[in-house]
């Protein structure tokens, strides 16, 4: 189990000098990700050559139970990737995700999760718990807007991330309104939006990943690969927008 994580890390390490793109096998970012505004606060930090502090807030997929180890979760992968792309900068990515957490709960905990010293970027992943429970879409969007405003006032750059995609879950859960809410909130506030749902759907439809009918062992391997791709894609996007 650990071997696959090591192999993955080794692969990433080898890819590092060539790293202008995400790890091999993830595909390019292409047209799916809309253009991001510059992450101004992070940019200033990076220019001064100090540190880059990121906090990831989210639910089960960010916590990454399904990964083989904590090093294989997407926040951890993001940290590794950014550290390579921004040599000389001390990159920290703190994972504050909790299982099955609603955005409303994340909003309440926001101050605690961020801590006293403000991070430069907060990646806010949400939407799954809301879709599963059929929460009112308008209230969800209002929660997102409120959270974004709070973070902006504290001088923190925000990146919104939506839910995962696989054909089975998407067949029995109505994700669309919640995905739209995340995208709309990002557009309304003119902040960065990482469309994980659309990216994963693109992967599935191009056969890059098979997410169903996997054995236990295969499941963790696939989870690792998916999280690695998410982490490195985010790394490329963030690096691009802080330079």
């Amino acid at each position: 189990m650990k071997a696959s994580a090591l192999a993955l890390a080794a692969g990433l390490f080898l890819a590092a000098p060539v790293a202008a793109a995400p790890a091999a096998g993830c595909g390019s970012i292409g047209d799916i990700v809309p253009e991001w505004p510059k992450l101004e606060h992070a940019r200033i930090e990076v220019k001064q050559g100090k540190s880059l502090d990121i906090v990831a807030v989210g639910s089960t997929s960010t916590l990454g139970d399904a990964a083989t180890s904590t090093a294989a979760t997407w926040p951890a992968q993001l940290k590794e990737d950014l550290a390579k792309r921004l040599p000389g900068i001390s990159v920290q990515v703190v994972n504050k995700a909790r299982r099955r957490q609603l955005a409303a709960d994340m909003l309440q905990r926001l101050s605690d999760d961020i801590g006293v010293s403000d991070p430069h970027i907060v990646i806010w992943e949400s939407g799954t718990a809301e879709a599963v429970r059929g929460v009112d879409v308008e209230s969800y969007r209002a929660v997102l807007l409120e959270g974004i405003d709070r973070l902006k006032r504290r001088g923190i750059d925000v990146i919104l991330m939506d839910m995962q995609f696989a054909r089975g879950p998407a067949a029995i859960i109505n994700f669309e309104p919640y995905q739209a809410a995340v995208e709309e909130a990002a557009n309304m506030e003119e902040i960065a939006y990482f469309p994980r749902f659309a990216i994963m759907r693109d992967w599935v439809e191009n056969g890059r990943f098979v997410l169903e009918d996997l054995t236990r062992a295969e499941q963790s391997k696939v989870a690792d690969k998916v999280y690695a791709c998410i982490g490195t894609m985010l790394g490329e996007l963030i690096a691009r927008n802080v330079k």
Partner: protein, 386 residues
């Protein structure tokens, strides 16, 4: 939408309802490319509004005569019989959905989708789920529009009684209930938590507006004035709204005013409570079409329009069929292939099947004598499908 002395079928109803049924089918096949080409891409409203309004109109047209004539008991019985058909279709879908979920959970259990599989926890209490489903309170994906229609149909019974006495009185009551939604937050709850995706207290306004117009036409009255100023206001309004909506769709369309517009307008376009923007834009469009298209326009009788017309004529059954086909289509896209080619095949096959069944139902009616065989110049009142 007035009737002349001899009752003539308003063919526009059938056509636009048939079209709405196609759009509803397309919109209910999730993750499909073609839903970006339906109404919702360019308008704040979608096929649901079209369907509910026209259904209100047709329900009143079909059953209104009985109620207006005084035979309240028989009218009620007719409406309840319609509700029963819809209810049976809903239960059928319920079984299909439970089967799909049970199968899905096996393939995704204990994986990176553990949280998503939380939606299957109702399987832990199947007896509760079944009862809640039978009570229309269990409304997972696909299962939200049929319960709405059932409740609206049931609601027609008391409203018909009120409309008998006073059309405007009934409309005023309907408007009051609609306004009570944002003020008091009234809605119906689903199991295990949340509320109905289509809030019946809000959507009844659209249904009753259609019903009132139909009842007015039955009494040979025209409910709505037709001054040119109103028409042109509607055109301008709709034009502006289309531009705004399309600008939201295009990611590359960067205007400084765009986020502001989004922030102000998006909360007014919520589907669940039939927010103002949706309602107003739909009514404006309906007004424009009613003014521009005559009830008996020639193109409505063409061969090309015929499949759409027949679907609209048998709308109750085609509606149920469409929802069921969307469910099957989605299953196919999930299990077999999800490519654009596959999506196209599913959409085309679904619409073909809906039209095929509509033709078949029409043939039955003609053969059993319930409907005169169609000659090009004939207008017929039978064969309505409320």
């Amino acid at each position: 939408m007035e009737t002349q002395r001899a009752p003539m079928r308003d063919r526009r109803l059938d056509f636009f309802r048939g079209l709405a049924l196609f759009f509803i089918f397309i919109d209910h096949v999730p993750n499909n490319l073609y839903s970006s080409f339906t109404l919702h891409a360019v308008a704040f409203f979608d096929a649901a509004e079209v369907f509910v309004f026209i259904s209100g109109y047709t329900v009143a047209l079909v059953f209104g005569r009985t109620f207006l004539g005084g035979d309240v008991v028989f009218g009620t019985a007719q409406v309840l019989r319609r509700c029963w058909t819809l209810y049976v279709a809903h239960v059928f879908l319920l079984i299909g959905f439970i089967a799909e979920v049970s199968w899905t959970v096996q393939r995704f259990e204990g994986s990176m989708f553990a949280e998503e599989m939380g939606v299957t926890h109702f399987l832990d209490e199947p007896h509760l789920t079944l009862i809640e489903g039978l009570l229309l309170r269990f409304q997972p994906e696909f299962m939200d529009i049929l319960p709405l229609y059932i409740v609206l149909l049931l609601g027609f019974i008391p409203f018909a009684l009120i409309f008998r006495v006073s059309l405007w009185g009934g409309l005023a009551l309907s408007l009051l209930i609609y306004l009570a939604v944002p003020v008091f937050g009234i809605t119906l709850h689903t199991y295990p938590e949340g509320s109905w995706f289509f809030n019946p207290f809000a959507w009844q306004l659209l249904f009753n507006l259609g019903a009132a117009m139909a009842l007015a036409s039955l009494r040979h009255k025209q409910l709505l004035p037709r001054p040119a100023a109103l028409f042109w206001t509607a055109i301008v309004l709709v034009g502006v709204m289309i531009v705004v909506k399309v600008s939201w769709l295009l990611n590359s369309f960067h205007l400084p005013v765009k986020p502001i517009l989004l922030r102000v307008l998006a909360p007014l376009a919520d589907k669940t409570d039939l927010d103002v923007l949706r309602l107003i834009e739909f009514l404006a469009v309906a007004y424009i079409i009613a003014t521009l298209v005559a009830p008996d326009a020639d193109w409505l009788r063409s061969r090309a329009a015929r499949p759409v017309m027949l679907c609209g004529e048998n709308s109750l059954h085609i509606f149920c069929l469409g929802i069921f086909l969307a469910f099957l289509g989605h299953l196919a896209l999930v299990e077999i292939a999800g490519s654009i080619a596959a999506q196209t095949m599913v959409i085309v096959a679904g619409i073909a099947i809906m039209c095929g069944v509509a033709y078949m139902m029409n043939w039955f009616k003609e053969r059993s004598g319930r409907k005169p065989v169609r000659k090009p110049a004939e207008a017929s009142l039978q064969g309505t499908g409320a």
